[in-house]
């Protein structure tokens, strides 16, 4: 667990989002919020990642792919569910294409997964940074 304290490398997964949360995540890397000064880096492969940033309600097509990405992520890892949709289906409750909120999909693979929720539609970048900091302090 000490590996997750500093310099967290993240991998971004979009499981059927409207892209608002994705834009706010990419905003974090711009000079205004600049999470690279905290050591947080966006990597291109889940095998290099310490944390997964998941956006979007888990659609039926993306559920299997999300489980495969989670299996490939190096453990120990933290899953951050960004936004109202990833936290619990958001406005898509009961829609025909929803395979469950993201935490239910991940818990099918690993019941002991560490999952943190950042609510908002989309969550403000300050809220995302604060959520990540609080989650890492609590581990």
């Amino acid at each position: 667990m000490k590996a997750l304290k500093k310099s967290v490398w993240v991998f971004h997964v979009n499981t059927g989002a409207c892209n608002n949360c994705d834009i706010e995540i990419v905003n974090l890397l711009t000079p205004r919020f600049d999470v690279e000064r905290l050591g947080i880096r966006l990597v291109g492969s889940p095998r290099h990642a310490d944390a997964l940033l998941v956006t979007g309600v888990g659609t039926r097509q993306a559920a299997k792919r999300l489980q495969e990405v989670y299996r490939q992520t190096a453990k120990p890892c933290v899953v951050f569910c960004m936004g109202a949709c990833a936290g619990g289906t958001g406005i898509f409750e009961g829609a025909y294409h929803v395979a469950g909120p993201v935490d239910r999909i991940i818990k099918e693979v690993d019941p002991n997964a560490i999952i943190a929720y950042v609510p908002g539609c989309p969550p403000k970048p300050e809220a995302m940074i604060s959520g990540v900091v609080k989650a890492l302090a609590a581990i």
């Binding site: 039926r60 025909y96 294409h97």
Partner: protein, 146 residues
């Protein structure tokens, strides 16, 4: 083209329509049966040179309606063709993709979601439903619950 010229030209295909409705805010609806929809589309696109926007599908209680939307950019007027498909068991309509390649994906999406067959579509494949979605279940039809 100007608004009066558009109104005059629309009278040319009056024999293929079952009605013309002028709604406020520069909307014109041309109502026709599904057999004549290709000819009306051809007239609006090639004859009048309007810009194709999108295709919409509606599930009314006793029929399906396919709306083709065209824009007249000079006056900001929208002309929509409302094609009624009366047969609910095997709904079919002529595809406009051979004339308009831009219609390929939207017709694939309407086929996935409402189950309406498009004759002469060059590439009818699954577009937006997931790979493991069962065949024959069309989510946005009124009788499908989940």
């Amino acid at each position: 083209m100007k608004q009066e010229e558009l109104n005059n030209r629309l009278a040319e295909i009056r024999d293929k329509l079952i009605g013309i409705e002028q709604k406020p805010n520069r909307r014109i609806f041309l109502l026709c049966e599904c057999e004549n929809s290709y000819a009306v589309n051809k007239f609006l696109f090639e004859g009048l040179g309007l810009r194709f926007v999108i295709v919409t599908g509606i599930d009314s209680e006793d029929c399906f309606e396919i709306l083709y939307h065209y824009a007249n950019d000079e006056t900001g007027c929208f002309v929509s063709i409302k094609a009624f498909i009366r047969d609910r068991e095997h709904p079919e309509i002529e595809s406009i993709t051979p004339m308009l390649p831009a219609g390929e994906w939207i017709e694939r999406e309407i086929h996935d979601i409402l189950g309406i067959g498009f004759r002469n579509h060059p590439n009818m494949r699954r577009l937006i439903l997931s790979d493991d979605w069962p065949e024959g279940v069309y989510p946005l039809r009124k009788e499908v619950k989940k």
